[in-house]
Amino acid sequence: MKTLVEMRKVTKRFPGVVALKDISFDIQAGEVHVLLGENGAGKSTLMKILSGAYQPTEGTIVLHGREYSSLTPKDAYENGISIIYQELSVIDELSIQENLFVGKLPTKKTAGFITTVDQKVMHEKALDYCKKVGLKRDPRTMVEELCISEKQQVEIAKALAGNSEVIIMDEPTASLTMEETNHLFNIIHQLKREGKGIVYISHKMKEIKEIGDRVTVLKDGTYVGTRNVADVEVDELVSMMVGRELNLESFSNHELDIAKQPVIFEARNISRRDKRVRNVSFQLHKGEILGFSGLVGSGRTEMMNAIFGAEPRESGEVYINGRKVDITNPYSAIKNGLAMVTENRRETGFINTMDIKKNISLLPYIKTSRAQGLVGLVSEKYDKKTGEEQRNSLRIKCADIDQSILQLSGGNQQKVILGKWLAADSEIIIFDEPTKGIDIGSKSEIYALMRKLADEGKGVLVVSSELPELLAVCDTIMVFREGQIVKTFPRKEATEQSIIRVSTGELSDEVK
């Protein structure tokens, strides 16, 4: 095998902190090298050094036999290294083919002296690259019309068009459905056959087993080890990452006889005008955790947003403890005891300009008449008290509750968001993709919290695209397809295979 890239004893220091210490990492032609580690372990920093975004403090990088003490983005590009970030960087306003050749559009001379873009050559070349990545679209299509997985294919095609030898993919399946993930894996296999080296950053153990050849684990900026994927067990990888064995126990409550428990939350005939949710009804019992599975876009989030009043619904009723409640906006939902931990923390979850304690106390002020007096006074003392309470009970890891929420890891941000809802005594808590982008250690903590809430009698509804997650925490799993619940699985009867088959429509709902 040919070594495409070798990073030797790379150290990166930021003022006051060592982000990476003596990391060595190499990429062979035709392999998928998985980079594994919790959030903050240094994976992104290492890859940013490789793509030229950061300069290492010490160490060398060997590319094509030449030693570099640091790379510029241009060096990286010219040596065939490209990186595909989680937040895709395709340009929506351009067509697919323009995206592929942006910065190096094929040109020709018109009227002998005016340089213009050679549309024909560009189109032909683009067709070729689209075919390579299985993108079934006319290259002249505007990128804004594409879905996320297609945009990702454009990114990969762009890397190929730039003659990349090494393609770094940062959690490429985070926003993909099962089917799209499989398609991506096919592309990756194809790239391997062509001798490309792939660096694959992911949290998902199953994917690593499926796609990886070697795996390197980082922890707190240090190198833990490299293994052949074929020879390593998931449990070992997890313990390498977190330094402890992950308790893979189930968080669902097996003793609970759900049918005998009172119904604490019920949605009846929820529909949206845009038809993304059609006539959905379900019940949640006391102590039960109810999960919603389905492909991305099957209508789960859309239904929750409609129930929560964040997006309009056409019809449907919501009952809490048997009492019909009138929800027209998030405020009325909150007043009635609903809470929503949204899918997108940064966009809809927290206030990025506020510190931890104010993010938490925001909700009690809004929901209750916690604010005193005629003008509604807030108090720093109450902020502190509430913030500390939630910090202690949820074990939020921070130096101080006066810290900006942006300084926390994803898992701890999620805890702050949960804290604000708990501080407001929410009764029914909707979790939408509660552990998206969160490391394994925090994940199990969040699962345990969800179980605890349910055991305390609070309602817990979970939307998740991660089946192991639903199988671990839920007592009942409902499967969404095309805006409807097509099947309900009690935990005992649910398996990954059966859920996948129902959600993809492979197993129709009549066959029960």
């Binding site: 902190v17 982000a19 405020y331 909150i334 506020m354 909700l363 604010a371 006074l377 807030v378």
Partner: protein, 320 residues
């Protein structure tokens, strides 16, 4: 691990946020004190600087809220002029000055209400709405005044505005009271907190149950009210309602707000900073006058200062 890194960045940033504008102000005062000894720290110059700054500070206090929600209010200059014009007309029509002043200020609130309602109803960015209403309000001012100065109202009004209480000029007292009330509002009330949340992340605020439209409306009403108060003070100081009054004051207000450390991206800023920003602009104007620099250069200095302060802000934000 990451925390140590961030904390050192934070403290640096925090120092800038807390003392940056005050530092600039002191620096300017020091420069002037060196260039023209005795010109700054005298019993005449200080009240003069404060009085001259008070109208700008009043307008900037309102502008602060518009910028805090990641918006802007370009109509504050026109609101100032129209409120002043309205106050003058009411007094000439025979209303007692006190009543005219109250109605004039409320008229400013009403103009703010129009801005806020339009922003809510159309969903357009406040930049567009207030760019439009700025022209509309200015047009109304010209029509109601026949494009002429309006004067001839009771001397008690102008004398009142120009007087002092224990040596402190009335405009300064008005600006100070407004600043204190709004400072209290931003820090101590739920509505103030909600406005910060809205400015920091409108989507998250909506999901947290904050009434986005109501608070947006409130912001523009506050902005209009402040401009209304400024209009009355300006009227008293000038002694006549000019149809072209306060033109260009929107720029000063935006400058004061931004120099005062308010983030253009919303959710961050303090009333104290806005007052400092207003004073900085006042000191620059005053200082260049005593240094007999042409007012044309004052514009240039102001422009440079705006760019530097926002750039510094951005630099520190990215460093974090």
């Amino acid at each position: 691990m990451e925390q140590t890194q961030n904390r050192s960045g934070l403290s640096f940033n925090a120092i800038w946020q807390r003392y940056g504008t005050m530092g600039i102000l002191l620096l300017l005062l020091a420069i002037l004190a060196i260039l023209r000894p005795g010109s700054i720290f005298s019993t005449e110059s200080i009240p003069q600087i404060l009085t001259q700054s008070s109208v700008n500070i009043l307008i900037a206090l309102g502008e602060f809220f518009a910028i805090l929600i990641a918006g802007i209010d370009l109509s504050v200059g026109a609101v100032t002029a129209l409120s002043g014009m309205m106050t003058a007309k009411l007094m000439i029509a025979g209303l007692p000055p006190a009543a005219a002043v109250i109605l004039g200020v409320l008229f400013g609130s009403f103009l703010g209400f129009i801005n806020g309602s339009l922003v809510n109803a159309t969903g357009l960015h406040p930049f567009i709405i207030t760019l439009g209403t700025d022209a509309i309000f200015r047009g109304v001012t010209l029509i109601t005044s026949n494009a002429r100065s309006v004067f001839g109202f009771p001397a008690s009004f102008t004398v009142g505005i120009s007087s002092s209480v224990i040596g402190v000029p009335i405009p300064v007292i008005i600006a100070l009271i407004t600043a204190v009330v709004l400072g209290f509002f931003t820090v101590k009330t739920k509505a103030g907190r909600n406005i910060y949340a809205l400015g920091g992340n409108q989507q998250a605020a909506w999901f947290s149950g904050i009434n986005v439209k109501l608070h947006t409306l409130l912001v523009f009403i506050i902005s209009g009210t402040c401009a209304g108060i400024a209009g009355v003070v300006l009227l008293g100081r000038v002694g006549a309602a000019e149809p072209g009054a306060a033109s260009g004051f929107s720029t000063y207000a935006i400058a004061a707000t931004i120099i005062g450390g308010t983030s253009f991206f919303g959710g961050k800023g303090k009333i104290f900073g806005v007052v400092m920003g207003g004073l900085i602009i006042g000191v620059i104007n005053y200082g260049m006058n005593i240094l007999t620099v042409s007012s044309s250069y004052q514009q240039i200095v102001m422009g440079v200062l705006i760019i530097i302060s926002v750039f510094l802000d951005k630099l520190l934000a990215t460093k974090k």
